[in-house]
C-alpha cells in the first residue's frame, strides 16, 4: 500500500506481515485476547438486564415471562459462562490496577501488592453488601 507524504511524494513503507492468528502463538497474547473478549459476555449481561427492565415496563405478565426465561437451564449455563468471563476480567483488571493508577504517598511510590489486595478487599466488601441488601431489602 503506498502513502502520500507531506510534500505529495509517494512512499512504500515496509510492513511486516502479521497473521490474523498472531495471538494464538504465545500464551501471554492469548490471555490478552481472552481478556478483551470477556467484554462480549459483559455486554451480553447488560443486554439481558436491559431486556428485563423493558419487560418490567410492560407489566407483571411480561416480567414474569422474563423471569421464567432466565430460570431456564440454557440461561443458567450462559450465566455461568458470563460469571467465568466476569471473574477473568476482575482478575486481570485488578492485576494491572497498580500500573493503570499508580499511587504515591509523599515521595514514596506505593508498592503494587497492597494496591491489588486493596481492590480485592473492596470487591469482596461490595459483593457481600450487594448480596445482603438483595436478601434483606
Amino acid at each position: 500500500m503506498s502513502e502520500f507524504t507531506a510534500n505529495g511524494a509517494t512512499r512504500k513503507p515496509y510492513r511486516r506481515p502479521i497473521k490474523r492468528s498472531w495471538w494464538v502463538e504465545k500464551a501471554f497474547f492469548t490471555k490478552y485476547m481472552v481478556r478483551e473478549l470477556t467484554s462480549v459476555f459483559v455486554g451480553l449481561y447488560s443486554l439481558i438486564l436491559l431486556l428485563g427492565l423493558y419487560r418490567l415496563t410492560q407489566g407483571p405478565l411480561a416480567f414474569g415471562a422474563w423471569l421464567i426465561g432466565i430460570s431456564s437451564f440454557p440461561s443458567v449455563v450462559l450465566h455461568l459462562m458470563i460469571l467465568g468471563a466476569a471473574l477473568f476480567h476482575t482478575i486481570t483488571w485488578f492485576n494491572i490496577a497498580p500500573q493503570a493508577m499508580p499511587l504515591q504517598i509523599g515521595d514514596r511510590k506505593v508498592p503494587e501488592r497492597p494496591i491489588v489486595i486493596g481492590h480485592w478487599v473492596a470487591a469482596a466488601v461490595l459483593s457481600l453488601l450487594v448480596l445482603v441488601l438483595f436478601i434483606v431489602l
Binding site: 502479521i18 490474523r20 495471538w23 485476547m33 478483551e36 473478549l37 467484554s39 462480549v40 459483559v42 455486554g43 449481561y45 447488560s46 443486554l47 439481558i48 438486564l49 436491559l50 428485563g52 427492565l53 423493558y54 418490567l56 415496563t57 407489566g59 407483571p60 416480567f63 414474569g64 423471569l67 432466565i70 430460570s71 431456564s72 440461561s75 443458567v76 450462559l78 450465566h79 455461568l80 458470563i82 460469571l83 466476569a86 471473574l87 476480567h89 476482575t90 483488571w93 485488578f94 493503570a100 481492590h119 473492596a122 470487591a123 461490595l126 459483593s127 450487594v130 448480596l131 438483595f134 436478601i135
Partner: protein
C-alpha cells in the same frame, strides 16, 4: 467522531471496567444463578419488588449504572479488538460499538422514566 472522542469514551471504559470488575460477578451470580436455581427465593426478584426498586430514584441510578457502564466498557474493547484481528475500522464499526452503547444508554434512560416514580 474525531480523535477527541477518545478521552470521554476512555473514562466511560475505565469506569465501566472498574464497575464490572467490582460488581458484575456478584450480580451475575445472584440474578443468573442463585435466584434461577432457587438458592435465593425467586420472590426476591418478583415483579412488585423490582418495580419498586426501578421506581425509586436511587434504584434508578443503580440500574442506569449497572446496565450502561459495562456497555461502554464492552464497546471500547470490541471496537479496539478489530485492530487486533487486523480489521480496518470504519464509521460502521464506530456506529456498531460506541454508537450502539450510546443508543442503548438512551433506551435505558427512557425505560427508567417510563417505569414511573
Amino acid at each position: 467522531m474525531t480523535k477527541t472522542h477518545e478521552p470521554i469514551v476512555w473514562s466511560l471504559f475505565g469506569a465501566g471496567g472498574m464497575l464490572t470488575a467490582m460488581l458484575t460477578p456478584i450480580l451475575v451470580l445472584i440474578t443468573g444463578v442463585l435466584v434461577p436455581i432457587g438458592i435465593i427465593s425467586p420472590e426476591r426478584m418478583s415483579y412488585e419488588r423490582m418495580l419498586a426498586f426501578a421506581q425509586n430514584p436511587l434504584g434508578k441510578l443503580v440500574l442506569l449504572v449497572i446496565i450502561t457502564l459495562p456497555l461502554w466498557h464492552a464497546a471500547h474493547r470490541i471496537y479496539h479488538a478489530h485492530h487486533d484481528f487486523l480489521i480496518h475500522t470504519t464509521k460502521v464499526h464506530l456506529a456498531l460499538t460506541y454508537g450502539l452503547a450510546l443508543l442503548l444508554s438512551i433506551v435505558t434512560v427512557v425505560l427508567l422514566l417510563m417505569v414511573g416514580f
